[in-house]
Point group: C2
Chain length 173, copies 2
DNA sequence: ACCTGAACACCGTTCAAGT
DNA sequence: ACCTGAACACCGTTCAAGT
């Protein structure tokens, strides 16, 4: 007589993301996640290899959501704001992305929207480098902002707008 | 009869940095660090409040070394290369910096060299935003490089040079 | 098939007892 | 004063036994 399933992989990953945002990666224990989905810790191992794998799944889900947000934009400036808004909504998830590397497919998919916008802005030949330039600045700005590295005064919204302006100028030149 | 000191705070932090680089933050256990300095784990608590505090001390020492490297340069391009070289030498330490926020003093000290170079390049009025722009791009590029996020082809050294060029152009414009 | 309690290893941390 | 062994709590993980 099979026991009925009491949870699912999707539910486990979703619970992991919630725990992550509410308390940081240290709080993402098998116990906390199991409790949240209403199961005992050992049961998680039926769907997830180990804690490491769970964190990787959480990162992948986060990257996918980010990619969907970016794909809904059509300009580099729009994407920049979507990117930053996402990071403010899910700071822990955003940070997790820089810790664990995505699969080649997920990476390519997430890069596509920015690459397309870069192609439209600077042409085929320089699209890759332009996309990297933009993404690097964006990632750096946001991660420094989240880490509290911008405490020398000034308005961060204005600094962000200044940066977008400078990136556009750099790519146009 | 006092027992002689068998270690010191500096030695503990240095040992922690070594363990960090050789195995990532997960390997920085009180046991591993204690063993490296030749002491039992409970003895570490005489000099360090807890593991969290040890990681913060490791980050502070890393930031100080980075600051010294930057201060030895006088151009923004020179600093960019020094920054990247440092990150390649101590990838785990570099990553740790984005996780834990520095004290206001350490942050100000580490920012000073870049700020001075930015002032020389664009003048007093825009120095802060220019320094932020430069640092954001640099931090983003390097952390993406370390995270393996640049796997769409192309030469990374060339992409880095392209970026420095674009940053300079953006700040000049 | 999936779920669970029991068990084990490992780590952070405290503390009383040693020198 | 500083160091240590012993002890405790907590977590990841495995596995045999339940349904």
């Amino acid at each position: 007589m099979p026991t009925p399933q009491r949870t699912s992989l999707a539910e486990i990953v979703a619970a992991g993301r919630e725990v992550l945002e509410s308390g940081g990666p240290g709080r993402v224990t098998m116990q906390a996640v199991a409790e949240r989905v209403g199961v005992r810790p050992p049961s998680l191992y039926k769907r997830v290899r180990d804690r490491e794998a769970l964190l990787t799944l959480i990162a992948a889900a986060t990257l996918q959501e980010l990619q969907e947000r970016l794909a809904a934009q059509d300009s580099l400036a729009g994407m920049a704001h979507a990117y930053r808004n996402f990071a403010h909504e899910r700071p822990e998830g955003f940070r997790l992305l820089s810790t664990r590397s995505a699969s080649a497919e997920d990476l390519a998919r997430a890069s596509a929207p920015v690459l397309a916008a870069a192609r439209a802005a600077v042409g085929e030949a320089d699209a890759l480098e332009a996309a990297r330039f933009m993404t690097a600045w964006l990632t750096g700005f946001i991660s420094m902002e989240l880490a509290g590295a911008f405490r020398l005064g000034g308005d961060l919204d204005r600094a962000f707008a200044y940066g977008i302006d400078r990136v556009s100028a750099a790519l146009a030149g």
